[in-house]
Every structure is written in C-alpha cells, then in structure tokens.
Symmetry: C2
Subunit: 479 residues, 2 copies
C-alpha cells in the first residue's frame, strides 16, 4: 500500500513519519527541560477537566491541534516521575531504549495470548526471562529449560495474585477452582508487606481476615519464629496454610525478610512460598547485593519489576515459578475458539494461562532493548551508583543532629525523620513537595511519621541528591 | 540538561531523536509492506529462540544492532494482527494516532495509581470515558457526574473480574472480602459467553461449578426464561445469586443476549448485572446499531474494548459502573505510604481502587488522540464500512450452494461453513492459514466445526474481503 491508497479518515504512513518525528522531538525536548517543571503537580482537583471540552469532537481535528494541547492542558497535571528530583514511593524509571522497544510493540500491535498468535512475542519473553535468571543469580529451577519459567505480568500486584491462586489450588488439590473456598485456607505475610497481598486475599476469595500479618523485628523484617508459631496454631485450629509471601525490600522501609529461614518453614510445611522483590530485586544484578535474597532456591515463585528500577517503561513485572504446571493448571481454560495445533502439540507456552488476562502486549521487546542497550555492565553501574548516592544521603542524615535515620537503609531507600516530631515532619514534607523542587513521600514506622527518599530515577545524579539534602535542611531550618 | 550532561550508559535525548526517527520510519515502512508477510506466522516452536544468544550481553550494543535484528529474528515469528488480511478472532486494531498517544504515554512515564501521582492521568481518563457515554448512547448513570464513572482496564477479562467481585461483595454485605466465601454464591452467564467469565469465577474464589451456563436459543443468545428458572431453583436450594453477565456480541458467533429481558430479571432479583460488549460495543457509535443493547439502563456495569474495534492500541478496555461506591468499597485498600491530602479530601478518584493492579499507565492519551483524530464521524464511517463489508461477505456465502451461514451475522462477524462437513472445514481452514494470504479462526456451533471471518482490522477494505472470499472458494474447490 502506498500512502495514497490508505482509506478515508486514517492517518497515512507518510503522515505518521512526519507526526512521529514531532512526537519524538517533543519527548526529547521534555527530558531536556524536565527540571523546569514542579516535580509534584500543583493543580487542584477538577482543574485539568475544566480545560477540556464537554463533548467529543463531531469531526476530526488536525494532529497539530492534538500535540499543541499537551503543554497547556496536560502538563500542569503531570507529576514528573521521570524527573531526576523524583524521590517518592518507589521509582518507575524509564529510558529511551525502553521507549523505542515500546514504540515497536505499539507498531506491531500483536496479541500474545497464544503462542500461535505471534510466536516471537512468547519466545522472546521466555528467552529474556531465562537470561534474567542468570543475570540476577536466581535459582536455575526458574528457567524454562527446567520445570519452571518466567512471564511478564503487568504489576507485582498481579504477580502476587497469581502466586496466591496457585498456592490456593495446590493446597486444595486443585479443587477450589471448581468449588470455591470453604473458609479454611490461611496465608501469611509480614505486617510491613505491601497492601497488594491483602488485596490479593480479597480478590481470591480467601478473605483479608485469613491473612496473618506476622510480627517484625526492629529492622521491620518478618520474624520467622513468629511465622512458624502462627502456622502451628492455625493447623491446630483445623485451618489450612496455603501461602507465604516474603518481601525483599518492603515498600515502607526496604526491610529484608529472611528468605532462607522463611523458606525452610514453608518447605517443611508444604506451603507455597512467594518472594516479592518488586524494586529491590534489581539489586541482584550485582553479586554483592545477592545476599539479601539468600535462600531463594526454597521459593515457589519470585517477582521483581524492571519497571521500577531497571529503566524499563511500565508495565513490566517479571514473575517466575519453579513448577509451571501448577500455575498453568490454576489459570488455564481452553475454549473452542482458542484451540490450535501448536497448543495441542504441547510444545509451546500459551501465556494467557500464566495470568488473569487473555490479551497481552509484546512487552518483552522493551526489556530486550534495555538489556542489550545497557549490557549487564551498564545496568550494574547504575544500580551501584544509586545505592552509593542513597548511602551518602544516609550518612548526611546521621551526621546532622536535627535528623535521624528511621530504619536501616540496606540499598537505595532512606527512611529518616526530623527529631522535632510528627507534626514537624508532616510540615516539612508538605513544604518540600509544594515547592516543586523535589518530591518525597512518607510512611509510618513504629507509629512515627517518617520521610522516605528513594534514589532510583534514571537521571538522578549526585548533584540532585545533594540539592535534595540542602533543600531539606533549609526547609527544616525555616520551620 | 543538555545531552552532554547525561550520565554514562544512558541514551541521550539527541540520540533518542535520531533513533526515534529510525523507529518511526521502520513502523511506517512496516505498514506499507505489511501485505508482503504471511498473515499467520509460519515458524515452528523454538525457531525464534534458536536465533537468540543463550546469554545476555555483558556490554551494551549499539542501537543499530538492535533495530537490525528485528527483521531477521523477530518478524518471522509475528502473526500480523495489523494486516488488512487478518480476519481471525476479534480484531485488535491499531492506528497511527493511537501509537502517537502511546508514545507520549511512554515518554511521560507517569504512574496514575492515585490522583496525586499525576492528576491529568486520572482526569483525562474520567473525562474521555464520560465523552464515550454520550458517543455510544450509554445510560447517563454511568457518567462520573452521576453516581457512576468509567475507568480503563487492561482487558475485558479484568473488567468482568472487577464486576464479579463487586457483585460478590454487594451480595454478602461487603463481608466476603473479609471472610472469604462460604460456597453459597452463584453466578450466571450463557453457554456461549467468553471463557473469561469462568476464569473470573475461579480467580474470585467462587468456583467454576457455581457458574450456571444458561441455555441459548437458535441464535446462540441467552434464554431469559431459563435464567429466571435457574435463579429461582438456586434460591430454593439456599444459594445466593450474586452476578449475571450478558454478552453483546459473543466471541464465538457474535450472538446478542437480550439485555432488557435479562436486566429486568436481575433488577427484580437484586443481582449485579454486567454487560460485556468487548468488540460489538463499538457499533453503538452508530445510532442504528444501538438496539442490540437496548435495556442497558438496567445494567450495573458495562465494558467494551476500544483496543478491539476502535483503532486504539492494546491495552484499552473501557469499564463503567453505575454505583462507583460499590466498586471502590470492593477494591480499596489504603496503606500509610499511599495516603495524601487529595485522597483524604474525597474530591478525587484514585483509580487503583477501581481494579486489581496498583500501578497504571497513562492509557487515556491514546484514546483521546483516536477520538480527536477521527472525530465521531470518522469512527462511525469505519464501523459502518466494516459492517457493510461483512454483510456483503455473508451474502456471497448464502449465494454459494457449497457454503452456508452457521449463525446470524448481526454486525461484522460472519460464521459460515462448507457443506462438506467438519473435516472439510478443518482442512479448508488449515489450507487458507498455511498459505499466509489471510488468517481466519474457527469455532464450534451446535457441535459443528465453523469458520469465522471478522471484518474489523483498521486497513481492511473491500478488495481484501473480496480476495478472502475468492481464496476460500478456490481452496474449497481444490480440496
């Protein structure tokens, strides 16, 4: 087809060449000027909508009008996750190679629900997730060449749900899929675990009251002996332990649950053991940080998010299982209209049997591009650099008599507080975020309001962390 | 930041300008030559992986090497969903304006989990979904200005799961989230409904055995009187009906469940009523096709997929509820580290409470671009054209003594078969798909193997449908 043959109303390939360049340039410009925006959007509720027409346009508009609206209508409502001054939550860092992989994925527009619906979409994903097993020093049982295998989920929330479902099914002899629960299944995680575990319990029909929030030690890590006692008590009460989720790097404070000790309990009890390393799993690219997840060979499943700290655009959560048959048996359904020779041969993976969704995007392209662009060496460089910058920041906090560390800082997240008390810290955070100069978020640890600074944004360099600390000190002095 | 200041290993904005253009051109070239590829990938299992190195590269590679690998390594494993000769499954049609919106979304790289984490991401989504209520003639109660509201889910599978969970909670006084199920909840859909309903029952812990597959009439549409009888029998047995899913355009044959009759039963019984119009909902852009979903004001929730038949790249499922409080109460969890002023004010939507995932991409940008590029008029034009082409095809089938229609063809999907029996049709399908000239899939209707031809790909024109019919006739003659 030449552009003149393209039918009415469609944008032609030649128009796409032109407008595509404009969008590419717009994005490049954005990164060059990103520090000129307030990091946290300063709009009020309803302000963005107030700029938009009440009705959709009856006739089409030129592309120039669309692109021209981004700056005045959209940008005021953007919180700049890609700013080097973004230190909030966990990062969702992106990179240009990932964007280019994602553009190709959009352009190809394939569905990867079945191997047959685009074999490259399935095979590249399996392959790159096998690469990552070696890159991260994960147990070989997670490879597709063993009985395991990896899949890209959208988020760690979906990964923990998939793991919980597999644990639920294994514990009931794969019966609860057919009959539903009988209220006897219980699961375990720490008090400091991510809310997605509780949400998964609700979604999976197990009930949040059947999630045991195990107590933590002074470093906010799960106490394995408390886990063992709770499992014993539940068994004595006639309940069925089906799932344990440990966290490598909690969201609140980056606490490291003792994977080996928890894994040994799970192994002895025959309970599905999932390890959620959403952000911190990336650190395992560097051998010196792998000790945080020592014992991973005892896990049934594992997840980390390249879309957090590995320069890969959202969404990209990598999820591995040691026994793929258990996962597939949990999530497989084969209606007539999806049957095909390749599926029936048993020689292929059909990834729609590895998660809740049926349709799926070609997400491994961006991950493949990131790994090939940076190489293992480049990725290691940035992980080490981010950890180093966070550790320097922690040192400054410790050296300042007005501040204190609120938790151990094993990697790239620093939890700290002003010694002035909760209200002081609350005011400090509001002042900093309202300034637009940087963006931090908070948590509560041992009942006390705590500030969090996470170094993991793609473009964050020493100068940004230094300025953040200066701004914090200045704001504290002005309070 | 100028490009020279960007730190080691990263691709700079200037490099992105250059490589971004190359990728844009690659995509434009792809669409110009898309008909030169076999529509269905012809590779064997393992063939794509065999071309990839066993280990990730220790050092980074130049971008030119990455892009150069796409053609030889990836393209043989692509099934071309964007080919105008793609007539399989339901379409997943894309368009250039959608790709450009998606590029911007990748570039901005924001997380929309909370209003505060990018207000524009939330507000544009709410706004465009309100637009669509008017564009599609949906009931006003689905608007955010009423008690309802819309949200973009990844897929119709996730939408039906969210709806089922809300129905489950409402039926138990919002208790099953806390305590899990007691095995008494039952749900209903037709025998012809999508497998995602059964999968949602498994995921939600209700059990597939508690899904009643209601019988269908000769047009494969749910029999409302059979639904009413089944609900009555279940109540008499002490069970609790909690959810009914009707389909506007089943995957198998595009059957239209009678929405009003089913809705009246649900209303009388107080059961959550979800309507899944994944592909066919797009037809409601045209007033003359709205009668297929007459009675929608009786629905509690509704979903359709712009990523199927409305030129919007995957993923984009639009999901509305009439009572957003019920959905939010079902899916909300608020840990300390996500608390913020805007959430506490109650003046904003936090979309992570509208689905399973926490993190979310700025998906409304691509939908906004599609609606503004085409205008309502342009979208209507293409829907009418696709329906017209499918109806012409149905006419040719009817006029050929060797073929017959296998089901009514109300819109853009034609189910048909050769009169030679199942083996003939199976051989015919294999021959056509192996030729690479076009891609069709099959279903089974009333026990008989049936071919499906769905017209909905962005670039499909009259000539493609004519050639498809010629190829089908030729292949049949050669059998």
């Amino acid at each position: 087809m030449s552009s003149s043959q393209f039918p009415s109303y469609h944008m032609t390939p030649d128009e796409f060449r032109r407008y595509g360049r404009e969008v590419v340039d717009w994005i490049a410009d954005y990164y060059e000027r990103i520090e000129s925006y307030p990091v946290l959007s300063q709009v009020q509720p309803g302000e963005v909508r107030a700029g938009l027409p009440a009705q959709a346009p009856p006739q089409g508009e030129p592309f120039s009008a669309l692109l021209a609206d981004i700056e005045p209508l959209i940008m005021p409502g953007i919180t700049h996750w890609q700013s080097p001054n973004f230190f909030a939550f966990f990062p969702a860092n992106a990179s240009f190679p990932a964007m280019l992989g994602d553009m190709l994925s959009s352009g190809l527009g394939v569905q990867g629900m079945l191997w047959a619906t685009s074999p490259a979409c399935t095979e590249l994903e399996t392959h790159v997730l096998d690469w990552l097993v070696d890159m991260l020093g994960l147990p070989g049982k997670f490879k597709s060449s063993a009985a395991g295998g990896g899949v890209i989920q959208d988020t760690a929330s979906s990964a923990v749900l998939a793991a919980l479902l597999a644990g639920r099914e294994r514990a009931t002899g794969y019966q609860s899929n057919a009959t539903g629960g009988d209220g006897r299944l219980v699961a375990y995680t720490s008090r400091e675990a991510h809310s997605s575990v509780e949400k998964a319990m609700m979604v999976a029909g197990l009930g949040s009251e059947n999630l045991r929030l195990i107590e933590v030690d002074e470093a906010y890590a799960m106490k394995p002996e408390a886990l063992a006692r709770q499992i014993e008590a539940d068994r004595a009460a006639g309940l069925i332990p089906c799932f344990v989720c440990a966290t490598v790097g909690t969201t609140s404070s980056n606490a490291m649950d003792p994977v080996r000790a928890i894994g040994e309990i799970c192994r002895a009890e025959g309970v599905w053991f999932h390890v959620d390393a959403a952000m911190s799993g990336t650190a395992a690219l560097c051998p010196e940080f792998r000790h945080f997840q020592d014992g991973l060979e005892l896990a049934d499943s594992y997840a980390f998010n390249p879309h957090k700290w590995m320069f890969t655009n959202f969404d990209c959560d990598c999820f591995w299982v040691a026994d793929r048959a258990a996962l597939i048996r949990t999530l497989s359904i084969l209606p007539e209209y999806l049957k095909n020779q390749a599926t029936e041969s048993g020689a292929v993976f059909d990834y729609r049997d590895w998660h809740v969704q049926l349709g799926r995007r070609f997400r491994s392209l961006k991950l493949w591009f990131v790994i090939r662009h940076y190489g293992v060496e480049g990725l290691q460089y940035h992980v080490r650099r981010h950890v180093e910058l966070a550790q320097e920041f922690a040192g400054w906090v410790e050296a300042d008599p007005d501040f204190q560390l609120a938790a151990p800082a094993p990697l790239n997240l620093v939890c700290f507080r002003h010694r002035g008390g909760d209200e002081t810290n609350r005011a400090l955070l509001a002042q900093l975020n309202n300034s637009g100069d940087l963006y931090l978020t908070h948590t509560v640890l041992s009942g006390r309001y705590t500030l969090r600074l996470c170094v993991g944004q793609t473009w964050t360099e020493a100068g940004h962390v230094q300025r953040a600390w200066q701004r914090i000190q200045q704001a504290a002095a002005a309070l």
